[in-house]
Structures are given as structure tokens and as C-alpha cells.
Amino acid sequence: MHAPLLRGLRRSVAVVAVGAATACAPAPAPESGPAPAAADTAHQHHAPASAQAADSVSADVRFLQHMIPHHAQALAMTALVPSRTTRTDVRMIAERITVSQRDEIATMQRWLEARGAAVPPVDTADAVRAAARHAGMAGMLTPDQLNQLAAARGPEFDRLFLTYMIQHHRGAVTMVAELLSAGGAQEPQLFGIASEVESDQLMEIARMERILATMPSASPDR
């Protein structure tokens, strides 16, 4: 086993989400109460019920509740690609990002569900409003940036897409670093999720930087 994530799944988000959300559920979650308590209940046989451990689980829950809308924005961005680019390499990296982010969203939803924590919606329909709502997250595109991207076509779109997706991905890497700084990722599956998010984003950043390097630094009309 190299990472507790679903890689390369080519089903729709909806199918993945339904399948994944119900999987891995342990004992019934408490009807109410904070997520950390639910997690502690499920893991009490080998995890301490200490305040430190509860803090760690809170950090995990917060991380995922932020990472899901963060990933959802990446899906909203890749959805723009097919109608706006002619470049195969841009299409392929977008496809790669779509697949990996969908898989990671499914696993993150499953982790939260299994612990009775709130699962944020994957809002790709109104991405601009979602961008405004989550403006404080590292790397998130602003509503203006999203609108600018949606309005661009051809080479200008390609350059903007890669630039913004690199910004977006670097934000996710920062979020992983913040999770570790906050004492999170003590839970084994969550540790695997964080590892996977980091390695996927780093790989995609490197790939996008190489594609960007083949393009003019700005469009000719600037």
C-alpha cells in the first residue's frame, strides 16, 4: 500500500462521492457533538483521549473541510479547459488534475463522513461565489482571477490557466505544511491523505512549470 487514496478513477464525481461517502464507516457516529469526539470514539483502543490528540484531530478535520472546497476550485478551473485551449499538453495536465483532485475529494469526504464530521459540498457550479466565500485560503483564485480566466481564450488562456493553477497548487502545499505545524496528521489514514495531496500537487506544479517554460512570457498584445 503506498497511499490511502483512490488514484486514477475515471468515474464521475457523483459516482465516486456516493461510493466513497458510505465506505469505511465504522461504528455509528454520534448524533451530535464535535467531530473530534467522534474520531476519538472510533479510535479509543489505540489512540489516547488526551487534549493533544483531540487538537490533532481538530486540525485534521479543519484541513479536510478546507481542502475539499480548495480542490473543488481546481475542478472548476479544469472544466474551463476543453473549450478554451488547443494545446494537447494543457489538456493532458488538466485531465490529470481533474482525476487526482476528484479522487482526493472522494477520500477526504469518506474520512469526514466516517467520523461524523460535516462534509462540505463540492461547489463547482457557482465557482465565483465559492471563490469569494473561501477567499482566505492559501492559493485560492479570487473571483476576479476566475472571471479573467473564464474570459480568456487560446494562448492567453493557457498561460493564465497554468499560472493560476500553480498558484492554487502551491496553496495546497502550504495547507499541508500548516496541517503539520498545527500538530495534525497523527491519524494514519489522514497522514496518507496529506502525503498524497502534497506529492500530487508538487508533481503537477513541476509539470505545469515545464509547459509554461515553453510559452512566451506574455501574450503579444501586451
Binding site: M1, L5, R7, H43, E95, A185, L202
Partner: protein, 589 residues
């Protein structure tokens, strides 16, 4: 071996007709194989009472996970998942994300728990050498003192990620004598012995997760391909002085993915190979590095590439070949055949937690890719994937396995997570086929982590580490694909120790059953050899009934004849090996 494929297909056909489930179409046998229900399809779900299907194996023993290694509230809890196995004498060492268990298998039908040791940190993969037990730790919860409370501080001297070394001379009280910290921790590792160096053993660390802060471990860096100090794009080599294991330390960090220009990220950079191909991970890590010290070679399954290493200088492995595969998502493990002419790589598509053996999944994705190794060059020959479709509730993909030492043949037992255990032949690397299997139904009606992590032959039995269910022990049973002689001969290849990713050459004593095993294999290979095989068998029978000089003369004559037969035979090496066995029998060895 095409013949065997056909026989196999015919068998499944006739069975299906008997039970009235046969497809009506009489298309090609290969197609029939794809559409005929396999007994592994439709097994009842259950943690402890799942339905089972078994063919050409016997389940000799099953033991559940012991206390402290199971979460009754969550059967799929990653924190207490069983992982890999190592073997020494009559002991089986079973890793777990929460520590390890030691089983006494003096009587394989009744494994007895000898020791269980809590020491969390995952994956808990193990190797054993003498009285030293090596254990991989990658998670940030891992502690130097094996405590279960985790390490919530982002930077801490209590944290341990790397390879632990225990002294197990007292099995009742394993004692940690060294803990070698590494930047990415140790997802898994390879114990490496050096034929030229009896004073030390070595460990290749495979780190695959987040690199830690340089404030916690000096020199660690999360930098990318341009950062020459990056903790990615390398492996670590630990030197362990056997007389002073407490002095174990990292002695090199080879950049085995570098190109000739000195770029540390010289291999696959991740992504698809073109439209419609698999997405392959970036080569910034090795998962398994399988070493074969006697050959001075290692096969690395390194995320985005399969690579071949010259390890004649163990501390400074040199890459000598690399391959990509557009059907591979993540290069995970590697196995040489016994003579080093074939390398089998596995693809862990889905990371081992996803259902990747569904009827809709492509047979060349999440499979084994079999390469011939000529000189120092790898060439792709074929794929082998578990031939029975699994449900969407079963995590399933190619995983860990090992060779079964049948003389003259390349046979492997392999774990497929909830796809069960599959035993298959890849003697002809372009024509692998299944010999035996065991499968349980899903853990649950939902997808939860479970199934076989590894399935390894050790000294006469196949041991399976079941992630969520415990330990299983199997015996091979004779079939048209494997005779009683071949099974008996495999048991004669004595093993005193066995570790994952460390291959030792199998040898067989001079015994009549070994000679007969060669003959059985050759006879199966080619029906035209029927008379030849009958003659050789009769000669062996006569010699075995005789005594003293008469036996010696009969065997010497047979050996001489076989040596002649070997010349120009399409199976020259195998006939020569048979001749050698008979020659040794003649000498009374």
C-alpha cells in the same frame, strides 16, 4: 505453455457447463475464459465469515489478528492494519501499522503467537537478519520510544520516522538498539547483504511521504527537482555493523534517478503518456527495491519507472537501465526469477485502497508487467492480472509475492489485497497462467481496507498476511498445472530465512523427486515429449529400485544421455539442469 492456457480454458468451460452456467457462444477459448463465471465471483461478504473460493490450494491454518492489533469498532482501521512478513527458522514476523507480531509456525497448521509488540508508525514492514529485526516507520505519529500517544508537535525530538532496529535475541522482550532517522521516513525498506562484506548488512530506505522540516532533522528539504539538496529523488543507504548495530547510520543517499547532465530528476516526471493512457506517477521515489546480491543486481519499482541497478558496490548503486509503461500508474514492486533472466514488476494502481479488479477495469492496468532481462536490458513481454473480477467493495490490485521454488519453472505466489492470493507460472515470460488461488468475499458491503498484503512461500507453505483478518497458511495441492513431484521438490529448497525484496538463489539437493519434478515440467511443456518423458521416468524408477553400483551405473548412463539431449533442445537449460541432478544422484550426493 499455450497448451496449458487452452487446457485451463477447457476446464473452466466444462465446469461451467456442468453447473449450467456456460455461455452459449462457442467463440475462442480466451473469450470464454473472460465470460465464464469464476468461483471467485459472488462470494458472500463478511469480516470473519466471508464466503471463500479455493483451487489447488489447501487452507492449512487461519489465525485472527491478536488484541491491540484490531479495532473491533472499525474493521478497516488503517492504524492497526497488518502489513508485510519476514521469516526466520520456525518464526513468522508480521508487521502492522501499530507494531509487529511474531508467530511460531513449528507446526504450520497451528501458528502460535510468540510475541506481540506495540510500536506505532506504519507501515511496519519488517526484515530479519540473525537476531536483528528491522522495521519501517513513516508516519508523523511515530515515536522514538514506541509510545502510542503520537507526536503532535510539528518539530520534536520525540518523533521517529525511519528504520528501527530491534535486538530479538530474547523473543519475549525485543529491545530497540538503533533508530535511524530519515527525511521522508521509511515507507518500506530492503535488507541488503553484500557477498563481499560479512561484517555489515545494509538497508535501502524507500521513503515515499512528506519530507520533514530541517528544523527536526538537519538537511531535510522539501525542494523540487532543481534543489540539489532535495529529500526527494533519492534513496538512503544504511550501514549496519553486525557487531555494533547501535552504530547503524546512513552512509549514502544515491541520486539513482539522475541523468547524465546531473539533473536529479532525470526520469519520468509524471502524467499521461498520451491521450487515453494511464497517468503515471513522478519518479521521485522508489517503492520496492528488490535486490539479488548474488547477481549484483537490483530491480527498482520507482513510482514512474521500472529501473535496474548494479549493486556490486552496495553503498553506491548505479542505474543501468530504466523502462516506462503507459499502462502503469505506480511502479510498486519487483521480483526476479531464480536465474535472473526475467523481472516481474507490479503496478499498484489505486494505491492498494481502491477497487481496481472490477470487470470494467482494464486487464493491463493494476497488473504485473513481465520483462525479460537479457544482459542488462529489460524488454516487456506480457501482463498478468488476477483473472477473476472482484467487486467494487474490494480493494484489489497487484501486490507483494514471492517465488515458489519448483525446479525448472518460474512460479510465484502473489497477494492481490481483497482479490485474494493467486499462484501463477511465468516460466515463459510472454505466456503467464494461473495455477491456484484463494479468495474471500468482501470484508463488508462497503469498501473497507482489507485483504492480502503479501503472500510468500516459505519452507513448504504459503503464508498470507491479511490486513484486516490475520494470518493464513496454505499448502499447494497437485493439479494438472503442478504435480506432486513438483510440490515435493519445492519443499526441498530449504530456507532458513526469507525477507521481502531480498532474493537468494534457490538450489535443490540431488533427489529423485527433484529429477522427476524437472521431467514433469518438461513433459507438460510439450506433449511431443511424451515418450521421452516416459523413458526418463522409467529409467529413474529402475535406478531408484536398484542399490550400490547398479544404481550408480544406471544413473550415470541416464545423465550422459540427458546431457546429449540437452544439446539443441528448445528447453536446453532445463534438460541440462535435470542431467546435472541425475549426475549428482549418481555420485551419491
Amino acid at each position: 505453455m499455450k497448451l496449458e492456457m487452452m487446457q485451463r480454458c477447457t476446464l473452466t468451460w466444462s465446469l461451467s457447463l456442468v453447473v449450467g452456467l456456460g455461455a452459449a457462444s462457442a467463440d475462442a477459448a480466451a473469450q470464454a475464459r473472460d465470460t465464464t463465471p469464476d468461483p471467485r465471483v459472488g462470494l458472500r461478504a463478511g469480516w470473519t465469515d466471508a464466503g471463500t473460493a479455493i483451487e489447488n490450494l489447501r487452507l492449512v491454518a487461519h489465525v485472527d489478528r491478536p488484541e491491540r492489533f484490531v479495532n473491533p469498532a472499525d474493521m478497516g482501521d488503517f492504524g492497526v492494519a497488518n502489513s508485510d512478513l519476514a521469516f526466520r527458522g520456525n518464526l513468522v514476523f508480521q508487521g502492522n501499522f501499530n507494531g509487529f507480531q511474531i508467530w511460531d509456525v513449528s507446526t504450520p497448521s497451528t501458528p502460535k503467537l510468540r510475541t506481540s509488540f506495540v510500536c506505532p508508525g506504519g507501515q511496519g514492514d519488517l526484515s530479519v537478519h540473525g537476531n536483528l529485526l528491522f522495521m519501517s516507520v513513516e508516519e508523523t505519529r511515530g515515536r522514538l520510544d514506541c509510545g502510542t500517544q503520537g507526536v503532535p508537535d510539528s518539530v520534536s525530538t520525540d518523533r521517529f520516522r525511519g528504520v528501527r532496529i530491534f535486538d530479538i535475541s530474547n523473543l519475549d522482550a525485543p529491545r530497540q538498539v538503533a533508530a535511524v532517522q530519515s527525511c521522508r521516513g521509511s515507507h518500506t525498506h530492503t535488507l541488503v547483504t553484500d557477498p563481499k562484506d560479512k561484517e555489515n548488512v545494509y538497508v535501502y530506505i524507500s521513503g515515499t511521504s512528506i519530507a520533514r522540516s530541517p528544523r527536526e532533522l538537519t538537511g531535510c528539504s522539501r525542494g523540487g527537482p532543481e534543489d540539489t539538496t532535495s529529500s526527494y529523488f533519492r534513496i538512503e543507504v544504511v550501514k549496519v555493523p553486525l557487531a555494533a548495530p547501535q552504530d547503524a547510520r546512513i552512509v549514502s543517499m544515491p541520486r539513482i534517478f539522475a541523468d547524465t547532465a546531473g539533473n536529479i530528476a532525470g526520469l519520468w516526471m509524471g502524467g499521461p503518456h498520451g491521450p487515453g493512457t494511464q497517468q503515471t506517477s513522478v519518479t521521485n521515489q522508489c517503492h520496492d527495491i528488490t535486490v539479488y546480491p548474488e547477481l549484483g543486481l537490483a530491480a527498482g519499482a520507482c513510482s514512474g519507472n521500472g529501473i535496474l541497478l548494479d549493486i556490486s558496490d552496495v553503498v553506491n548503486p548505479k542505474r543501468i537501465d530504466e523502462v516506462i509503461d503507459p499502462n502503469f500508474a505506480y511502479w510498486h514492486s519487483a521480483t526476479f526469477n531464480n536465474d535472473g533472466s526475467t523481472v516481474l514488476y507490479t503496478d499498484e494502481w489505486g494505491g492498494g485502497v481502491a477497487a481496481r479488479c472490477r470487470a470494467t477495469d482494464r486487464p493491463e492496468w493494476g497488473a504485473n508487467a513481465i520483462f525479460s532481462l537479457t544482459g542488462r536490458t529489460l524488454r516487456h513481454e506480457s501482463y498478468y492480472k488476477l483473472p477473476a473480477p472482484q467487486t467494487a467493495q474490494e480493494n484489489c490490485v497487484a501486490h507483494n509475492g514471492s517465488l515458489i521454488p519448483v525446479p525448472g519453472r518460474d512460479i510465484m505466489a502473489q497477494a492481490w489485497y481483497q482479490g485474494g492470493v493467486s499462484v501463477f507460472d511465468f516460466t515463459n515470460p510472454d505466456r503467464p497462467f494461473e495455477i491456484a488461488y484463494f479468495d474471500r468475499g468482501p470484508m463488508s458491503d462497503k469498501l473497507v481496507l482489507g485483504g492480502f498484503w503479501s503472500a510468500y512461500w516459505y519452507d513448504g507453505h504459503i503464508y498470507g498476511s491479511e490486513i484486516g483478518r490475520g494470518l493464513d497458511v496454505f499448502a499447494l495441492t497437485p493439479s494438472e498445472f503442478l504435480t506432486a513431484n513438483e510440490i515435493a521438490a519445492a519443499k526441498l529448497a530449504k530456507m532458513e530465512v526469507s525477507n521481502p525484496q531480498l532474493q537468494q538463489r534457490f538450489t535443490w539437493p540431488a533427489a529423485f523427486v527433484v529429477a522427476r519434478a524437472y521431467v514433469d515440467g518438461l513433459a507438460r511443456e510439450d506433449a511431443l515429449r511424451g515418450k521421452w518423458a516416459a523413458d526418463v521416468r522409467a529409467a529413474l524408477d529402475r535406478a531408484e529400485r536398484a542399490r550400490g553400483a547398479v544404481r550408480r551405473t544406471a544413473l550415470t548412463q541416464l545423465a550422459t544421455r540427458l546431457e546429449k539431449d540437452a544439446v539443441g533442445s528448445p528447453a536446453s537449460a532445463r534438460v541440462a539442469a535435470l542431467a546435472k541432478t541425475v549426475r549428482e544422484l549418481a555420485r551419491g550426493r
